[in-house]
Subunit: 346 residues, 2 copies
């Protein structure tokens, strides 16, 4: 029996569907065309040799403050697994208490982004991991010193040998970044109410949340915020329609700094909206602390829409359904420094 | 049958004991008179009401950077559970990248100390916890703002209500400190090789380690470093016999600052030697990075002993047997800030 015949029989048997049911069904199928749920389990490690060894090593290095010149700052400092993979700052604070230029994007679900950093200058997490370690306003270190540091601790040397047995010299900056990236790839947040909705759980969203979702799709927020991460892929100018005010930092020209193309001025990679309820403050500038404000600003700057208060409320309700199950991380135990370990430089 | 009769029969039956066996037995009984093992399980919560709620809350607050004015520094920053409960600095670095006056003592097994801080100015962990939160060179916060911060997040408010159901106003600075202290009280490191030796495992220590232990006792290191924590109780001048040089900071008069007594100048609380192999650099000044150097300096300054290289080696071997099983901590998930949460102040 073909599908449409089955549907026809169903209609005859059950009588006309209620408007609500039709609407709900339409909302779901519309949403499924645009979004997809975060998978229940992290990306497979099937193609990765010695995956368990690399993952544990990556976790250790993610929490390792000795990757920074000061021995005070680790990946987890700005991408805190207890704070939805971000920090609590407008823009991150690093070496010497220097304020960096941009707000820390969450590490959670970052593996599903097409590129990394606000300007998309890293094509993947491995490339990304090398950036902050060397940035003067972040960890302020040098690859040679990072290698010397890791190499100075027998526990790390042994773990690298076990993770890369085919390599005669496994403690490399590339391998350090790769193991960190592998650990990060496992930091996903499945099972948000919105994911359960996408998977067919009709009770996953409240009426207000459904209204917010409908508005989110109908107002074209989804031109940028679509896919599994509701963002993380395309690049758009902040101010497609109306140039925002304080939220845009005058000296941060975004992707223009990467490509040098005039058209890329104030263009940024669309951020994910996953766990947005946990990651204030917002925007690359971190100038907006409130999700309702951020929603209003986006609607105006990108779509030239003046949202009514109930619209803002519904959109915010929907955005809060994007908070998923946060990853559980057992804090790693890091090896003791040795006389060969470079001393912290403040 | 009385004990000595049994021993007598044993001697007759087995013939004279070998010298080695006698020595070993003597070493163990001598050690048992001076030391005791870290218990297998943390201090009981039997007398504590709603212990589970308080412990989880304490863990969250221990990792909570919003207890600091900057929202960048938590208890775990300087007492990192992945770094044997300490940091990697000579003296800790806090708010505004300011260098504090003293080296961070480990939080591990701190519950077994008679007092807290290098000068013993806090009588317990609860009192201790209040210090760094307010210190200008550490978290630089004020109790009122800490309370306002915690109170701004419904998840914390609910957790305090569940942990202190008898209280109408449970979010207090005292309760914040108490829950942190309760969490810290569970951070113990049992099952070090030395603990297994004390419990009667004859194979727990190597010959070199046993020689080190014998020397440690016979040279009178144990005048200060005794008990369960091999320290953490008594107060002694750094330089009982010979004033040390660079290791003593001229302007840090230690316990004199607390008591104002002339005799307390340069007096410090004896630090624990538990996990000493993991917590370089050493002394309140953090000026000594190497355990062998620290051992030599201590022997000279406190006992006027000039150790030979083999003696240093044996002592170091023994000290490394004090590394116990580190606590496993699942990183807590912290609630999102709300519009009522005070913003970070850098």
């Amino acid at each position: 029996m073909k599908k449409f015949e089955l549907a026809f029989i169903f209609l005859i048997t059950m009588g006309p569907l209620s408007t609500a049911a039709v609407t709900e069904d339409t909302l779901l199928s519309q949403a499924r065309d645009i979004f997809s749920p975060i998978p229940a389990t992290p990306p497979s490690m099937l193609g990765v040799t010695h995956a368990a060894e690399k993952l544990e090593l990556g976790k250790m290095l993610y929490f390792e403050p000795r990757l920074s010149a000061s021995h005070l700052i680790s990946c987890n400092t700005c991408h805190n697994v207890g704070l939805a993979g971000a920090d609590l700052q407008e823009t991150s604070v690093g070496h010497s208490w220097k304020k960096g230029p941009r707000n820390a994007p969450t590490v959670l679900n970052a593996v599903f982004n097409s590129s990394q950093f606000w300007d998309g200058r890293a094509k993947n997490l491995t490339e990304q991991a090398k950036g902050p370690i060397q940035a003067a306003v972040e960890m302020n270190n040098k690859p040679e010193k990072v290698i010397e540091t890791v190499q100075s601790m027998p526990d790390y040397v042994n773990r690298f040998a076990a993770a890369y047995p085919e390599s005669a010299n496994p403690v490399t900056f590339d391998n350090i970044a790769e193991t960190i990236a592998l650990f990060e790839s496992q930091l996903i947040t499945p099972d948000a109410p919105f994911d359960r909705f996408l998977k067919g759980d009709g009770k996953a969203l409240t009426d207000a949340e459904r209204s917010g979702l409908a508005l989110f799709m109908d107002s074209n927020c989804v031109s940028c915020h679509n896919g599994m991460n509701l963002g993380g892929k395309a690049f758009f100018r902040f101010g497609v329609q109306v140039k925002p005010a304080a939220e845009l930092l005058a000296d941060d020209t975004g992707r223009f700094k990467v490509t040098g193309k005039e058209g890329d001025k104030f263009v940024f990679r669309v951020p994910t909206l996953r766990n947005i309820g946990l990651t204030a403050p917002y925007f690359h500038s971190g100038k907006t602390w409130n999700l309702a404000d951020a929603t209003r600003i986006m609607a105006k700057s990108q779509l030239d829409l003046d949202l009514t208060p109930p619209e803002v409320q519904h959109l915010e309700s929907f955005l809060l359904t994007l908070t998923g199950k946060q990853p559980e991380v057992i804090h790693p135990l890091l090896p003791a420094s040795t006389p060969k370990t470079p001393r912290p430089e403040l």
